[in-house]
């Protein structure tokens, strides 16, 4: 009995070997063909990485779409330095260790001239050192918590830039909105337990401490949590009059929905992620009034550049509402900043592009705003408080505050 099945397995195996061989041949063929197709134009390679699968994928995909859109426009207009831009896209799955590996691949195997991304703070912190070692400029276009200017301390020759509202700016604006503008007295913090949420919590706490205030309660929730009753009760019991949140869309929606369940009407103010469509849609009417710092408001676009971007996005990706409009806009602008820096440098050498980024000559008007000199030798943050407006959720969209 046993013998028989063993034989059977052997026969099946050798039959299969042929098939496996054919399959392997097929894969090899595809690989060679696709690698051939890249040779020819000698394009400039730009690496893009972020989470394109898993829970953070909406942010990663919107960002990638923004980058792709800008690249297509640039290439249609003749490229940079007479060369086309080729994107090398890698999915980091929001895993730190994948981020490190991908960066090594992009920098040393693909030999990219610049890098855009990532989304997740942990991924960024695990991987930005490779850009610095290789002296290839990287523009972080979503992650708010990643270390950028902090890196100067240990690494004066810093190649990491950012076009996204960082946590210092965000937390400062959130606190100002809550305490100065709306005159709340007793803030409660509720943050997710990711790198992003906890980094934000720390910065909110220090921004409060500067004003001599301590949060009445500090709560935490995990990704995919849907029951926030306990955390909200704690905040309510502590007498909070405003809820400062730091997390991403789906869990923030659960917070808003649970507020209704325990019948507590309280103002929500939080990070830019409150503008993610999966917050707005899932919270429905419970999300109304939620306020967040924004670099780009889809429904508040006044510039021609902004409306052109929106039209192009809708035409290309057939999505009426961008899942994460901020990420898409920042992705789009990051690509243009990189392009203009390469143009100004006149070369794809890392140090020269970096120098160009730090000393922008032309100025750039993008979707997220106008940047005369986005970066300097000591400040690698493009977004400052002046670039930010507070957005408010209103019936399924984010609107500028006075609308």
């Amino acid at each position: 009995m046993l013998k028989l099945s063993n034989n059977f397995y052997l026969i099946a195996l050798f039959k299969m070997k042929k098939r496996i061989f054919m399959m392997l041949m097929g894969v090899a063929l595809i690989t060679t063909v696709s690698s051939f197709s890249t040779i020819g134009g000698d394009p400039i390679k730009i690496g893009v990485y972020g989470p394109f699968s898993g829970g953070s994928a909406p942010m990663g995909l919107s960002m990638r779409n923004g980058v792709r859109l800008a690249t297509a426009e640039i290439n249609a207009a003749g490229g940079v330095l007479g060369r086309k831009i080729e994107l090398v896209e890698r999915d980091d799955e929001a895993k730190n260790e994948r981020g490190g590996q991908i960066m090594q691949e992009l920098l040393f195997k693909e030999d990219v001239s610049g890098i855009l991304g990532p989304v997740n703070t942990g991924v960024a912190d695990a991987s930005t050192k490779y850009s610095n070692d290789r002296k290839v400029p990287q523009i972080i276009n979503v992650s708010a918590g990643a270390k950028v200017n902090d890196l100067f301390a240990t690494n004066p020759d810093n190649y990491i830039f950012r076009i996204a509202a960082n946590d210092y700016v965000q937390s400062e604006m959130i606190i100002r909105e809550a305490l100065q503008k709306r005159k709340f007295k007793k803030p409660a913090l509720l943050c997710d337990d990711t790198n992003y949420g906890q980094g934000g919590r720390a910065k909110l706490e220090s921004a409060l401490a500067k004003r001599g205030i301590k949060a009445v309660s500090v709560g935490k929730f995990k990704l995919k949590d849907t029951d926030m009753t306990a955390q909200l009760q704690e905040a309510k019991n502590a007498g909070a009059d405003v809820l400062l949140v730091y997390g991403i869309g789906p869990e923030l929606a659960a917070v808003a929905n649970n507020l209704e369940k325990i019948a507590w009407k309280v103002q929500i103010i939080g990070g830019w992620t409150l503008s993610m469509s999966n917050f707005i849609n899932n919270a429905g009417k419970n999300g109304n009034g939620a306020t967040m710092p924004q670099t780009f408001i889809e429904n508040g676009v006044t510039s021609s550049k902004g409306s052109k971007f929106l039209a192009a996005y809708e035409a290309t990706y057939k999505e009426k509402n961008i899942p994460v409009a901020v990420a898409a806009a920042q992705g789009y602008d990051s690509m243009y900043l990189m392009k203009m820096a390469i143009e100004q440098a006149g070369t794809t050498e890392g140090p020269k592009i970096k120098a160009a980024l730090e000393n922008f000559k032309k100025g750039y008007t993008g979707v997220t705003g106008t940047y005369k000199k986005p970066f300097s030798a000591t400040d690698h943050e493009a977004i400052h408080e002046v670039n930010i407006i507070m957005g408010v959720v209103k019936d399924g969209i984010v609107v500028p505050p006075n609308k």
Binding site: P58, K220, K224, T226, D227, T229, A230, G284
Partner: protein, 292 residues
């Protein structure tokens, strides 16, 4: 007091969600000593199919449920044919784990690529406004989940106890060899258990969707917690699942409130380890004397 009851109800509702998912592990474990490690992804599929039919295309609720059941059956069959049957034949202790995990990876990414990576709102047919009784808010969907979870467990357990086919399932779970001597088609019983388990998972997906939202990752965490729930109660006991769900659900709610939100999951898992140290087959598990 009011808050305490509110927590209690939230904990129970969350626990019943876990139970509902956990029950799927029990059904197949008792017949085949294996289960679908990607059970959470089946739940996700149910939620996604439900959303596409019910919310996006406004198909009547009952028709949507039928469609979900149908998808559950098909997926159960594919899972059985591609992953379970070959693994059980290969006599390896781990093949089924790998096979069902691989199946889950495929399923989740098909949904991500061909549908969406985003999370979507699934409006409860019973309405989204909480019912308020003396200041305590309960979502109608939560009440439905509690009722359905209990009903499904009772129904399946009575089915096992009172029908011929149900008895055949119990027979296979207790002694495969003797059962096959008695003329019970063991393969069919196992197939049936996988079909039942995946249909329940898909229905659970629709049921929990208004609470958890629908997205490709909605089942991942649920799947793991439900696994713990099914073990606490004892993998071979249907009612144990309900108890396990309550233990985990309530411990989470009360820990988050009174100890620390960061340590929310910890007591549940500590209880799990303690229970198993003293009752190695779970609370309602049978003690087995090994015959030598």
């Amino acid at each position: 007091m009011e808050q305490f009851i509110q927590l209690l109800i939230s904990g129970i509702a969350q626990g019943m969600i876990y139970s509902l998912v956990a029950f799927g592990y029990n059904i197949t474990f008792s017949t085949s000593r294996s289960f679908n490690f990607s059970h959470g992804n089946f739940l996700m599929l149910g939620g996604v199919v439900g959303l596409i039919f019910f919310i996006n295309n406004q198909v009547p609720f009952l028709a949507m449920v039928l469609a979900v059941v149908f998808v559950g059956l098909i997926m159960g069959l594919i899972l059985y044919k591609t992953s379970i049957e070959p693994s059980l034949k290969s006599k390896s202790n781990y093949a089924w784990i790998l096979a069902t995990l691989a199946f889950g990876i495929i399923l989740k990414n098909i949904v991500e690529v061909f549908w969406s990576t985003d999370d979507f709102r699934f409006d409860s047919p019973l309405g989204n406004a909480p019912i308020r009784i003396m200041g305590i808010g309960v979502l109608p969907q939560e009440i439905l989940i509690i009722i359905v979870a209990i009903c499904i467990v009772v129904a399946v357990e009575s089915f096992k106890k009172y029908t011929i086919f149900g008895k055949a399932i119990v027979a296979v779970s207790e002694d495969k060899h003797t059962a096959s001597l008695m003329g019970i088609n063991q393969q069919f019983v196992i197939l049936f258990s996988f079909l039942l388990s995946s249909v329940i998972a898909c229905l659970a997906g629709v049921l929990v969707a208004p609470i958890t939202m629908v997205g490709a990752t909605m089942g991942t965490v649920l799947g793991v917690k439900a696994y713990a729930v099914s073990i606490i109660g004892g993998l071979e006991s249907g009612y144990g699942v309900l108890l396990g769900g309550l233990i985990i659900g309530l411990s989470e709610a009360f820990t988050a409130r009174y100890i620390s939100t960061g340590y929310k999951d910890a007591p549940g898992f500590l209880i799990l380890i303690l229970v198993l140290l003293f009752l190695p087959s779970g609370i309602f598990g049978k003690k087995i004397f090994k015959k030598v």
